[in-house]
Structures are given as structure tokens and as C-alpha cells.
């Protein structure tokens, strides 16, 4: 122990006292009191930097496992610090010591409660993390409340944290189970890939038996899987494995015979066609197939845990013929770190017992290298032994012969055992192996010899008839063998088969009599054994020898040997006292013994699910969940259909639509996706046709996804609008379908090109994230005004929220006549721009209405107006009649000055310009009424513009008013306590300045419109726009 001075094991004591002196750190009260005071002083100082320094030192102490609990009061004071690093370190400290200092820990709770309402999602999330990590039972109700609130948070990151908090609360207080399950149920419905893994983890921990909660989410989980983060994938896959085993019928044929025909039938049933006429064709549940299909690409993951979990899923769920796909990936993992190899090899060992066929082609990958650690070598040996068959045994044996020479003796010994197993399993080579082992008996190395003897002994026992030669050979070698176990084995063999070597056996006994006193116990016992057996078979020659040995044994030092000797003597030497038993001595001692079985140690490991900890340690680990057997009859599969019923779920089907689109745009999902998604579409029966068509046309769906999604949003949010609108809606839908049809016609080659623009990925995602709350808006609107307040409540604490309303209207950018066939329209999707936070995102729809293909459509290098423009990536080809939607970002610099740029095709350039309406230069903001007032107070005087307005009678209802306002400008609604006062808030995209709008109705048709903003120009322009809009019906 060279690093003794660094030993942290002892706390206190002279040694650490010295150390404490050096590092000025407190340990126990005595030694480090001075330093502790030092730190306390630093923490109580007014300088942030000193406090931070102190916290850093304290964290250093915690990291080394020292006790810093006495500083708790001083540390907890800093929990509300503004310095984020200091705050984080305090959190670390709190989580570590709160359990020990519960009363003091309560002081910090209010800070977290406040932070839970912070507009910054990171702060909300970390507050929840710490709050739920403080293991103080008294705050359980607070935690429960916080979790419930966070589970409905708008940020998926916070919801993810909530899912983690569920487990923490459950481990703190299991009585909360019922309530927690409710939260889990809610979160399981979440569509965010970020949340999925964590909530399934919570499900597994809290209520793994509530399989009914999964039904409705099964298809969603399958479809989301590729996009979930890797750790979540592992958890979801293992949960789905268990689920599938309870819900689907076995794809394995009962008789276990797979002839060509049945195999064919299997493949056909995969295609979900009815198979060839067979007695009872097995048809796989489409959901079962969906799971298999969606997990398969994950075999290519870089994360070894994901690959392993897919492998075990296939092993436990796939038809036997399909399991083969996993082998290549598993073999690939063998290149990884040794720990990974260890686990993977263990699992392969179990698999290779049942299906050696799938690993046989990769046999060479299991060849042992001299640099492998011993446990890896042994596992490879195990697998090679399992894979041995008549065809490859000679190759394997040749390889084994090399291993026997290994310098790693434990491994050489294991190899000999393996040879023994091959010899018993494959009768063809038994003799070869025996001969080989006999040759090893003359090996120089003792362990090799000893192991060989033991294995030969076992082998001879299995077929004792014709091997007297080998026994003789071993008897000859006996003098040179020193390893006790080997000597004992030889003695046992000679004793057992003494009738086959009648001449040699007595001689061996004679030699043993000479050396008896210096032998090991195990050898002595076998000597006594041999003597007894010889006495019974050949008492003439050995009577005296036996008595001599028994006498030696009688006075031996070892208790066991004296005991055994006494027993044997009574048994075999007839005298008055030994009654009935000695008559049977021969039958007792020379009974034919069953041969030992040489079996794999992995034989019974398949009782555990592969890839689990229990499988690795070969015993049931705490919390292991059994994999159930296949049900004999399939449970009702309709439970997995997703339906639209309750108003709360109104948005579910529309969410369902984004899912296939999204997974599609990542290119990961199978081409067969359509099927699963389509199923879901039909499941959501009442949804309009566009839902199923957009999901089933998965290939081209993505591009139109953007379109359709927007219109969908507006569709639902406008659903209480007049019938005139719904007509328009229908028209829109028709148009969309037509576009889709056109795209469908396009050659597959073109589809890829349409995929090319990378901009879609982040964009769709952005939409995706924001979606999560848009539907709630839709809900309130469709919910017929009854809960505007509720809706508003949902928007608390958010800085930039999703647009309340997205206008459908698009503006012409380039007419097809001037564009020589290229037509372009633009539209403001009102989403935060992903290319830069000062940019307004603009969507361009480019249509080729000419009769020839347009190539290389892009935005020209030069912009005349000097705005910063993020170009869309160039479109290589646009077929006649096709159209494509791309998005771009423009920094309008908070002015309505038009952005001029050039739209280029391969042949032409067209100057175009986008003139934004002032209302599009904002991003909606939500805030509380108090905040609004506060901010408004700051923006008085110069920054305030107001005007009296007269309103068209249609606009006076509060709903219509809000609608009008948010359609003109991209603003968020601020809750208000007063009836005739409406407030809206937004920030300008480029500078981020607040724009606050309030409308105060004086009577039914007139009121006062006030705008407070630093950007006075924008303010007055907005005022004008709003005024005109409200005046119009």
C-alpha cells in the first residue's frame, strides 16, 4: 500500500488529523473544528466567490467520503443564491445530508417550491430533482403535489424529471402508490420521446404488474422507440418483452421440428398473408410483428446495452427462424471492453446450448487469445464446447490442444474439462479424446496431469468396458504424479475396476502401504477404499496389506481417516460384532455407480430472462420480474386500439399523426411502418380521413406533414368557427390530398431527394415539442368557452409559449408566370426559428407548374436588403407538378422592411421579397397578471401608445376579441381577473423586447387599446393594425 498516506478509510485518528491539517478540512468534531469554522466563516461572508470556494471544498470532502454534516446550517442558507454554480453545489450537499438533518433541511423547501414556478425550465427541473431527492418523510405531500404539477408541465424535460421523481417518492413512501400510478398513467400517454424512457422506468419500479396501463400506449411506444434516447430504449424494450409474452401467442412450433415447408409457411405469415394450407397456420399478431420490426434497426446501435436488449427480445419473442439476425450484432459486441465481452459471452453461452446453429458460422470469433482475461477465456471455451458437433469437432479439438499448452494454468485445466465434455457429447471422438488425454498424462505440468486424470476418470466411468489399457497406463504413471486429487482419482479407478487389472491393483496397494503416512488425506481415504475393495475381490493376495493399511489408518492424525478406517474394518472383516451388514459389504462397496454427467454450467441459466442481472449471477436478483409463459389463447388484441372518446383525449389522434411522420423523418423506421401506423389510424376511427392518409403515406408524408399539421392545428382550434370556415377547411384538405397524390406518383428516387433538406429534422422536432401544449388550446376552444381560465392557467410560468393561433393564409412570393413555372408562396408558421433565435421562421412552398423538371432551387448568395437570412438547403430536383415545403429563417431586425433575395433555379434567378406584417415579428409570451402589471409599469411615458377604438359588434365577445387579436399578431394571452380587460404579451423576435397589449372595454362597442413597448415604431404600427382589425367584422 504505497498510497497509505492517501488512505481515506479512517476518519479521525492521528493520520487523518495530519491530513486535515494539510488540507484544512474538517472531519470529526475534534480534529477539524478549526477548519470547519474556517469554512463556516467563508460561507457566511458576503462575497460570492468566497462562498463558492467554500462549497467547492465541501464538495471535495463529500467526494472523498468525509463527514461534512456539521456545516449544514451554514450551507443551507445559501440555497437561494443567485449564483447558479453555488446553488448547484448547495443542492449536491443538501441531497447528501438532508436525510441526516431533517429539521434543518425543511428550511430549504420553500426555496424549491418557489423555483418550481420559475420560468426557466432547467431551474424548474433541478428544483424538482432536489426536492424529490431529499429523503425527508415529512415533505411527502409537498413532493406529491410537485410531481403532479410537473407531470403536466409544458417542458418535456420537466416531465421527464417528474417521472424520475415518481420513483424517488415511491421508495420513500410506498403508501403513495395509488396516486403515483395515476401520474404514471398520465405520463405514459405523453408523446415526447424524452419522457417515454423515464416513465417506463417508473412503471417498472412502481407497478410492473399493471400491464393494463400499457395496452393503449403499446403501439405508440413501439413507434417512438427508435427516437427515444438510448437508455430509455433499454428499459422500454425489456418492458415490452414482458408485455408481449403475456399478450401474444407463441410463435414457436410446439413440436419443435422445422422442416422446409413449415419454414416457408412462417415467412409467409410474416407477410401477413394467409399461409399455405396447413393444419393450423400460425398468424402472428400484427402488434407482435410491429414490435419485432421496430426494434430490429436498434441492433445497429452503438450502445451495447441496447443491442443486448434487442437480442434478448428476439430470443424471447421472435419465431425461431428469425433469431439468427441477432448473432452478427452480438458477435460485434465482443470487440468492446472486457466487461461487455463478459456479459455478452455469458448470454451467448446460454443461447448456444439451445440453438447452436445460429452461432456456428461465427465459431472463430470465440477462439481464445492469449491476452484475454481468464474469465473471458473460460466463457469462450464454454461456448466452443457448446458449439461442438461431428462436423467441427476436429477443428475445435485442435484449437483446444493449443489451449492446453497455455501458460494460464487455470485455463488449461478448464480446457481439459471441455475436452472431456466434447468426448461425452460426441461419441465419434470419445476415443480420440481419451487418447489425447492419456498423452497429456505425461505432460510436465502437474495441474494439467491432475485435471486429465480427473477427466479420464469421469470418461471411463461412462464406458468402463474396454479401457483396462488406460487404467494400466495410469497405474504406471502413478509414481510420477504428485497432485493429490489426481492420485486419489487413480486409486479410485483402480479400486473400482480392480477386476480388470487383477495383477496391477495389489501392487499399487503395496506401494501405497509404503507411502501411506506421508500422503494427503484425500489420498489416504482412497487408499483405504482401494484396500477394502481389493480385500473383497482378492483377499488372498491383499489380506495382510489391507490389515496393515487399516492399522495405519486407525492411528492416523486425521479424525476422518480414523473414522473411515473403523467403519471399513467393521464392514469387511467378519467378526462377532458385525452382524448383518458385512454380508452386504461387497454390494455396498462394489455397487455399480452412475456415471457423472458432464454438463454445461449454463444448462439451467435459461430460466432467467437473458441480459438480466439474474442471468449473470445465476440466481434471482432482488426485483427480478419473471418472464411469463406464452398464453395458450391470445388475449383480446383490441385493447391496444386507441380510440377517441373523452374530451381530454381529443387531441390524441392528432398527436398520433405526428408520430409516424416524425420517426420517418429520421429514416430509422422500417419501410413497413405504414402498416403499424395505418392500423392506428383506423383505430382512431372517428378521425377524419386525412389522419390515416397522412400516416399511411409515410414516405412522402413528412414533407406534407408540416403542412397538414398546421392546418390540423388550426382546424381544431377553429372548429367553433362559422361554417364558412369549415368550407375553407375542406378545400384545404382536398388540396392537401391532391398534393399527396401527386407526390405519391413521383418516382421513388425523387422521394429521397425530397428527404434531403436537413432542415426538416429540427423543425419537425421543434413543432413536435411545442405541439404538446397546442392541443390543450384546441381543447379549450372546442370545449366551448367554459374554461378559458383553465387554459390560461396552463400557460403560467412560461416565457416563450407556442402560438395561440396560426393563420393559414399564405402570401405569394413568386407567381408562376413570372417564375417561368416556379411558383412560391410563403407563410409564417409562428414557431421559434431553429436557425437562430433572432430569426423569424418562414415556410416556403415551392411548386413546379411548368412541364419540365426544375433543378437546384436555392436562395441566391446575395441579399440586397442586408437582412440575415438562413437559406433552405438547395432542392436538387422538383418534378413537374410536384411541390415541396422548405423552411428558412429571416432576421427582420424588428422592422417591417422587406427582405429581398433571389430565388434561383439552375437556369434562372428571380428577385423576390418578403414583407412581414408587424404581427409576425413577435413571439408569444405568457406571464402572470402581476408580472404584466410590473412590466407595464416600467414601460410608461415614451414607451406607451394608446388609442380609442370602436369595435365591430361581432368582436365584442371575449372569445372573438382574443381571436381577432392573436390572429393579427403572434401574441400570448395573459390571464386577467377583470371582465372587460384583456391582456396580451409578446416579445419582438430580434431584440427580445417585450410588447404588452391591453384592451380596456369601456362599453359594448368601444374601448381603449394600449401598447407598451420600447420599440415605439413597432408599437404604433401594431396599434394601427389592431385598431383596423377590431373595427372590421
Amino acid at each position: 500500500m504505497s498510497a497509505n498516506s492517501l488512505s481515506y478509510n479512517e476518519q479521525g485518528g492521528a493520520e487523518s488529523a495530519v491530513e486535515v491539517g494539510l488540507e484544512s478540512t474538517p472531519t470529526s468534531s475534534g480534529a477539524g473544528a478549526g477548519a470547519g469554522a474556517d469554512l463556516r466563516e467563508m460561507l457566511e461572508s458576503t462575497k460570492e466567490s468566497l462562498k463558492l470556494e467554500a462549497m467547492k471544498r465541501i464538495v471535495g470532502l463529500i467526494a472523498r467520503g468525509k463527514n461534512a454534516s456539521e456545516l449544514f446550517p451554514a450551507v443551507v442558507k445559501n440555497v437561494a443564491s443567485k449564483n447558479i454554480e453555488l446553488k448547484k453545489l448547495v443542492y449536491v450537499y443538501l441531497v447528501r445530508y438532508a436525510e441526516e438533518q431533517q429539521d434543518l433541511a425543511l428550511l430549504s423547501i420553500s426555496t424549491f417550491q418557489r423555483a418550481l414556478k420559475d420560468p426557466n425550465q432547467l431551474i424548474r427541473a433541478s428544483a424538482l430533482r432536489v426536492l424529490s431527492s431529499i429523503r425527508v418523510p415529512i415533505i411527502v405531500p409537498i413532493m406529491m403535489l410537485a410531481i403532479k404539477e410537473a407531470a403536466t408541465d409544458l417542458s418535456p424535460y420537466v416531465r421527464k424529471t417528474a417521472a424520475h421523481a415518481i420513483q424517488k417518492l415511491y421508495s420513500l413512501d410506498a403508501d403513495q402508490k395509488e396516486q403515483l400510478i395515476e401520474v404514471i398513467e398520465k405520463l405514459l400517454k405523453d408523446k415526447s420521446t424524452l419522457v417515454a424512457g423515464s416513465v417506463v422506468m417508473a412503471f417498472e419500479e412502481v407497478c410492473p404488474d399493471r400491464i393494463d396501463l400499457i395496452h393503449k400506449n403499446y403501439r405508440k411506444l413501439c413507434n417512438l422507440l427508435v427516437d427515444v434516447e438510448e437508455w430509455g430504449q433499454v428499459v422500454i424494450i425489456s418492458m415490452l418483452t414482458r408485455y408481449a409474452r403475456t399478450q401474444f401467442i407463441s410463435p414457436w412450433k410446439e413440436d419443435g421440428i422445422f422442416d422446409e415447408n413449415s419454414e416457408q409457411a412462417f415467412y409467409e405469415s410474416d407477410e401477413e398473408k394467409l399461409g399455405t394450407p396447413q393444419s393450423k397456420p400460425y398468424i402472428m399478431d400484427p402488434d407482435h410483428r410491429l414490435l419485432l420490426r421496430n426494434t430490429k434497426p436498434l441492433l445497429q446501435s452503438r450502445n451495447t446495452a441496447v443491442v443486448m436488449s434487442v437480442a434478448q427480445l428476439y430470443w424471447h419473442l421472435a419465431p425461431k427462424q428469425e433469431v439468427g439476425v441477432i448473432t452478427k450484432s452480438l458477435v460485434r459486441l465482443l470487440r468492446s471492453h472486457r466487461e461487455v465481452q463478459y456479459i455478452v459471452l455469458q448470454n451467448i453461452a446460454t443461447m448456444s446450448i439451445q440453438q447452436k446453429g445460429i452461432f456456428e458460422p461465427f465459431m472463430k470469433s470465440f477462439y481464445v487469445r492469449s491476452t484475454d482475461p481468464t474469465h473471458i477465456k473460460t466463457l469462450k471455451l464454454e461456448i466452443l464446447t457448446n458449439l461442438a458437433n461431428e462436423a467441427n469437432i476436429s477443428t475445435i479439438l485442435r484449437e483446444f490442444q493449443t489451449y492446453v499448452k497455455s501458460q494460464d494454468k487455470a485455463f488449461a485445466a478448464a480446457t481439459i474439462q471441455a475436452i472431456g465434455r466434447c468426448a461425452t457429447n460426441i461419441t465419434d471422438v470419445t476415443d480420440t479424446c481419451l487418447n489425447g488425454l492419456v498423452l497429456l498424462l505425461s505432460n510436465r505440468d502437474e495441474t494439467v496431469v491432475a485435471e486429465s486424470v480427473v477427466v479420464i476418470k469421469k470418461l471411463l466411468q461412462t464406458q468402463p468396458t474396454q479401457h483396462s489399457e488406460i487404467i494400466k497406463h495410469m497405474a504406471k504413471l502413478f509414481d510420477n504424479i504428485t497432485v493429490p486429487m489426481a492420485r486419489a482419482s487413480i486409486l479410485w479407478l483402480i479400486g473400482e475396476y480392480c477386476e480388470r487389472v487383477p495383477k496391477i491393483a495389489p501392487d499399487v496397494l503395496r506401494k501405497m502401504a509404503k507411502t501411506f503416512t506421508v500422503e494427503e488425506d484425500i489420498v489416504k481415504l482412497q487408499t483405504v477404499n482401494l484396500a477394502a475393495k481389493l480385500y473383497l475381490t482378492n483377499s488372498k493376495q491383499t489380506k495382510l496389506l489391507t490389515q496393515y493399511i487399516l492399522n495405519l489408518g486407525k492411528y492416523d492424525q486425521s479424525y476422518d481417516i480414523r473414522d473411515r478406517t473403523r467403519f471399513i474394518r467393521q464392514l469387511i472383516v467378519p467378526n462377532e460384532k458385525s452382524g448383518a451388514l458385512s454380508k452386504y459389504a461387497r454390494r455396498i462397496l462394489l455397487a455399480s455407480k452412475p456415471a457423472p454427467m458432464l454438463e454445461s454450467t449454463f444448462k439451467d441459466r435459461d430460466r432467467f430472462q437473458l441480459g438480466t442481472l439474474s442471468h449473470t449471477i445465476n440466481s434471482k436478483a432482488t426485483g427480478y420480474l419473471e418472464l411469463s409463459d406464452w398464453p395458450t389463447a391470445a388475449p383480446d388484441s383490441s385493447v391496444r386500439n386507441v380510440e377517441v372518446m373523452e374530451p381530454v383525449k381529443e387531441w390524441v389522434p392528432s398527436m398520433g399523426k405526428t408520430k409516424p411522420l416524425k420517426s420517418d423523418d429520421k429514416f430509422y423506421s422500417d419501410s413497413g411502418e405504414e402498416e403499424g401506423a395505418g392500423e392506428e389510424g383506423t383505430g382512431s376511427s372517428s378521425e377524419d380521413s386525412s389522419s390515416s392518409s397522412s400516416s399511411s403515406s409515410s414516405n412522402e408524408g413528412k414533407l406534407y406533414g408540416l403542412n397538414s399539421k398546421h392546418s390540423e392545428e388550426t382546424d381544431s382550434s377553429q372548429s367553433d368557427k362559422s361554417s364558412g370556415h369549415s368550407d375553407k377547411k375542406k378545400a384545404d384538405k382536398k388540396k392537401r390530398l391532391q398534393l399527396k397524390k401527386k407526390a405519391k406518383k413521383a418516382a421513388p428516387k425523387e422521394r429521397y431527394q425530397m428527404h434531403r433538406p436537413p432542415t426538416h429534422h429540427p423543425l419537425t422536432q421543434e413543432l413536435w415539442n411545442l405541439r404538446t401544449f397546442t392541443p390543450k388550446m384546441a381543447y379549450t376552444h372546442t370545449g366551448k368557452k367554459k374554461n378559458r381560465k383553465q387554459m390560461v392557467a396552463l400557460f403560467l410560468c412560461v416565457q416563450v409559449s407556442s402560438p395561440v393561433f396560426v393563420p393559414m393564409s399564405s402570401h405569394e412570393l413568386l407567381h408562376r408566370m413570372t417564375g417561368k413555372g416556379l411558383a412560391a408562396q410563403y407563410h409564417f408558421p409562428r414557431q421559434p426559428c431553429i436557425y437562430g433565435n433572432k430569426m423569424v421562421s418562414v415556410q416556403l412552398t415551392l411548386t413546379n407548374s411548368s412541364d419540365h423538371t426544375l433543378e437546384d432551387i436555392s436562395i441566391g448568395e446575395k441579399t440586397s436588403s442586408g437582412q440575415n437570412i438562413h437559406r433552405f438547403s438547395s432542392i436538387e430536383r422538383l418534378e413537374p407538378g410536384a411541390s415541396v415545403t422548405v423552411s428558412m429563417g429571416i432576421d427582420f431586425n424588428d422592422s417591417t422592411q422587406a427582405a429581398n433575395f433571389q430565388l434561383c433555379t439552375k437556369e434562372d434567378q428571380f428577385s423576390v421579397s418578403i414583407q412581414p406584417v408587424v404581427g409576425e415579428l413577435f413571439l408569444p409570451v405568457t406571464m402572470t397578471e402581476q408580472d404584466f402589471r410590473k412590466e407595464q409599469g416600467k414601460l410608461q411615458g415614451m414607451n406607451e401608445t394608446s388609442a380609442t377604438i370602436t369595435m365591430a359588434p361581432e368582436n365584442t365577445s371575449n372569445q372573438a376579441l382574443s381571436k381577432k387579436m392573436v390572429s393579427v399578431a403572434n401574441m400570448g394571452v395573459v390571464p386577467t381577473g377583470e371582465d372587460s380587460l384583456y391582456r396580451f404579451a409578446a416579445k419582438s423576435v430580434s431584440s427580445g423586447d417585450l410588447v404588452l397589449v391591453s384592451v380596456d372595454l369601456t362599453d359594448s362597442s368601444s374601448g381603449r387599446l394600449t401598447i407598451n413597448t420600447e420599440k415605439t415604431v413597432i408599437g404604433s404600427m401594431l396599434l394601427r393594425d389592431l385598431k383596423t382589425a377590431l373595427a372590421q367584422p
Binding site: V59, R64, N83, E85, T161, H164, R338, Y367, L613, T622
Partner: protein
């Protein structure tokens, strides 16, 4: 899931501990120390150790054991993979992952571990996300921080955390836009004494260093993509595109990352770039042995074989070796019996050789084994599988990036020398 983490150095001291749930006493590591004592080599410590109330899952990297304490069923690979990810992150942050580096940066280490796991479940493991949350320590930043009082901790949720491209942050800017790709192949082979290949396979990786502004979308295509037998991708690669067209299409992470690893299996013929001729003889009864070893190039397509290093574990009976190297230097450690010969570059005109005698322990019987010889080498500008990148295109951004592709072949686990008996002698 993961309850606690202990870092143990090679002398068996716990130098860092972190708990994600309630505190587990460090005495739980005693079971680990027991196993460590039993193991003859550091690598022989079993990765999974069950104890009465916990399970210990450990990985060994850079001579540090990362011991995770588990309380209930969890896929062991999940933990192992995570621990390796932790080590990779440390390496990424501190340049190297040693005990000293960890101790020096204990606060950053703690902040990192705090972000990486929540309640034992991984929260953020993507290096780009972590770097936005906690900035890696640099000397400059330390100085600036002490003066200005700013911190290394980010205040906003990293953009990647919520996006579908979590590996890339938004708003990346570079003045020189460049993308470098290194195709590195390692040959794993076992070759017997007569020079015939027992097993050989190629493990290749494409490591990339991409410093590009904005949100570039790259496509990389190969001349001969069918060569790749089995591949695993960085999550950024669009799998479907690969399936359909054998083209790598991806939005790259910012900085260094491993784009792809692949496998060219033994079914295909793997070219072996070097050969070894050796003859090691011991005479019965004599205390001397002869040692002869010659190296030569083979199937190198005209490229030079560089940085050649030969090592061999000589039999225990060998006391000393008195050898003569035609080039380079050799060392023999009489304690571990390890012979290493740093050859350097192989000159095909004048093949390097190592010849001489070995002295044996008096009275010891003749060592009977052919020692394994392990060879390391490098060949620049060549991928031994013949894999060639066809072109790299960028979409989505307007500038012209600087692109570079480098090839290299290395020896992986390349061992030779063990005598493989003929099938016939087994049959005899």
C-alpha cells in the same frame, strides 16, 4: 438503478464516492477488495460481484476501477455501458482520466456525475449537452472565472436536450469550417507457427472531427460499401438511408465523435500485412536456448509498415536473453519474462531480425511451448480492407468546408507463434 459509485485505484483505495439515492456505506467495497485480492491480474476481477444486499458492477479503465453499487435487477450491460460513458466523458473533459486528474477536478467531476444520472437513471450522457451545462475546465476559463466571478455552469437547458438532434447544439460558429474523417482499421488475427491464418478479421472505425458552422447535413459515400459486413452507427446516422442506398447521411455532432464502427469478418479474405519467421529452440539438458526471429512485409500494397513492436512472453524457465537486433532496441524483463522489441519501420530490402541465445535455469526441464508473439504495427494511408470513401457532400449550409480523409491500418489483437497441431495428429 445505479445507487452509488466508488472509484478505486490500483492500490485498493477509494478516492471518490457519489451517491444518487441514500448513502451506501463504503464498507460494501470490501467484497470488491476480496475479489481483487483473489484475482491474479487486475483484469481478472469479475465485472459483476453479488454481495448479500447489493450487487457490484465494475469496469476497469486507466487502472481505475469504477464500481457501481446496484440494489435490484438491472441489465448489467446497461450499467457497464454507462460507466464506460462516464470514463469517456472524463477523458473528454480532462484530456486524460487518471486518479490525479479526477482529484484535481473533483468539483467538475461531481457536477458531471450529478447531471449524468438522476435517481440512478441516465439523464444526459451526450457530450454536447453536458458541455453546455458544464463547461470543460481550461486554464483561460479558470482565470476569467476568478476575475469576473462567472461560472462554469450553464443557466439554460441545453438546446440539444429537447431536440431530435440531441448530439448537436444550435448556433455553432467557426471561422475555418473543416471536417476530418479518419478511417482506422485494426486487424485481429491469430496466425499459427507455420504462418497460416487461423482467424483474421478487420475491425474498422471512422472517427470524425467536424467543426462546421450551423446545421450542416453531410453525406458520405463509399466506393465499395458492400464490404462492410456489420456496422454500428452514431445515433446521428440515418439508418434507413444506409439500408436503402448504402450512404451515410447525418447531421454531425460538433467536434470529435465516432461516426461508424464496422466489421469485415473472417469470411472475407483478410490480407495479412506482415509475416514473422521465428525459431526458438531449447535443447534437453542444456542451459542454453537459441532464439531467432525475422519480420517481413507481406501484402502491404507498397505502403511502409511502421511503428512495429514485437512482444513475447518467454517461458518461465528462461533466465536471461542475450540477443542481437539488426535494428531497433529490445528489452527483456527477467521478472515477468517479457521480451519486447521496438523495431520501428520495416525496410523490405533489409529485413529486421533478432537473434541470439537465452540462458535457462539450471536443472529446469526443457520448456515445451512455443511462446505467443504479439505484434503491433501501423500502416499509414491504407485501409487494409480496401474500403475507400467516394465523396463527402454537405447540404444545408452555404460555405465551402475543408474536407480531409485519412486512412490507417493498425494491428489489433494480432498474435502469432502458437503451434497449432495438425488435424491428423489429433485423429491419431
Amino acid at each position: 438503478m445505479i445507487h452509488s459509485l466508488f472509484l478505486v485505484n490500483s492500490s485498493g483505495d477509494i478516492f471518490l464516492e457519489k451517491h444518487w439515492k441514500s448513502v451506501v456505506s463504503r464498507s460494501v467495497c470490501d467484497y470488491f477488495f476480496e475479489a481483487q485480492e483473489r484475482a491474479s491480474e487486475p483484469e481478472n476481477v469479475p465485472p459483476v460481484i453479488p454481495t448479500p444486499h447489493h450487487y457490484l458492477i465494475s469496469v476497469l479503465r486507466h487502472r481505475i476501477y469504477f464500481v457501481a453499487v446496484i440494489q435490484s435487477e438491472v441489465p448489467p450491460l446497461f450499467v457497464i455501458e454507462f460507466l464506460h460513458r462516464v470514463v469517456d466523458t472524463f477523458q473528454d473533459y480532462f484530456g486524460l482520466c487518471t486518479e490525479a486528474a479526477i482529484k484535481d477536478n473533483v468539483v467538475v467531476v461531481y457536477e458531471l456525475l450529478e447531471e449524468m444520472l438522476d435517481n440512478g437513471f441516465p439523464l444526459a450522457t451526450e457530450s454536447n449537452i453536458l458541455k453546455e451545462l458544464i463547461k470543460p475546465p481550461t486554464i483561460l476559463r479558470t482565470v476569467v472565472n476568478t476575475i469576473t466571478g462567472s461560472t462554469n455552469v450553464g443557466e439554460q437547458l441545453p438546446t440539444g436536450q429537447l431536440s431530435v438532434v440531441p448530439w448537436r447544439r444550435t448556433g455553432v460558429k467557426y471561422t475555418n469550417n473543416e471536417a476530418y474523417f479518419d478511417v482506422v482499421e485494426e486487424i485481429d488475427a491469430i496466425i499459427d507457427k507455420s504462418g497460416s491464418t487461423i482467424t483474421a478479421e478487420i475491425q474498422g472505425v471512422i472517427d470524425a472531427c467536424v467543426k462546421l458552422t450551423g446545421m450542416p447535413d453531410l453525406t458520405l459515400s463509399f466506393m465499395n460499401p458492400r464490404l462492410l459486413d456489420d456496422v454500428s452507427f452514431h445515433p446521428c446516422v440515418r439508418f434507413k438511408r444506409w439500408e436503402a442506398e448504402r450512404i451515410l447521411s447525418f447531421i454531425p455532432p460538433d467536434g470529435n465523435f465516432r461516426l461508424l464502427s464496422y466489421h469485415v469478418s473472417s469470411q472475407n479474405l483478410v490480407a495479412i500485412p506482415v509475416y514473422v519467421k521465428h525459431n526458438i529452440t531449447f535443447r534437453e539438458g542444456s542451459s542454453q536456448g537459441r532464439f531467432e526471429l525475422t519480420l517481413g512485409p507481406k501484402q502491404t500494397m507498397g505502403k511502409a509498415v511502421e511503428s512495429v513492436l514485437v512482444s513475447s512472453q518467454l517461458p518461465r524457465g528462461v533466465l536471461n536473453a542475450n540477443l542481437n537486433a539488426s535494428q531497433g532496441t529490445y528489452t527483456f524483463d527477467p521478472v515477468t519474462k517479457l521480451l519486447t522489441w521496438d523495431v520501428g519501420k520495416i525496410n523490405p530490402q533489409k529485413l529486421p531480425s533478432l537473434k541470439g541465445s537465452m540462458s535457462l535455469q539450471a536443472g529446469a526441464s526443457k520448456p515445451d511451448e512455443n511462446p505467443t508473439i504479439i505484434i503491433q504495427f501501423k500502416i499509414q494511408q491504407m485501409a487494409i480492407s480496401g474500403l475507400k470513401v467516394n465523396r463527402l457532400d454537405m447540404y444545408g449550409e452555404k460555405y465551402k468546408p475543408f474536407k480531409g480523409i485519412k486512412y490507417m491500418t493498425k494491428a489489433g489483437k494480432f498474435q502469432t507463434g502458437m503451434q497449432r497441431p495438425h488435424v491428423s495428429c489429433v485423429k491419431a
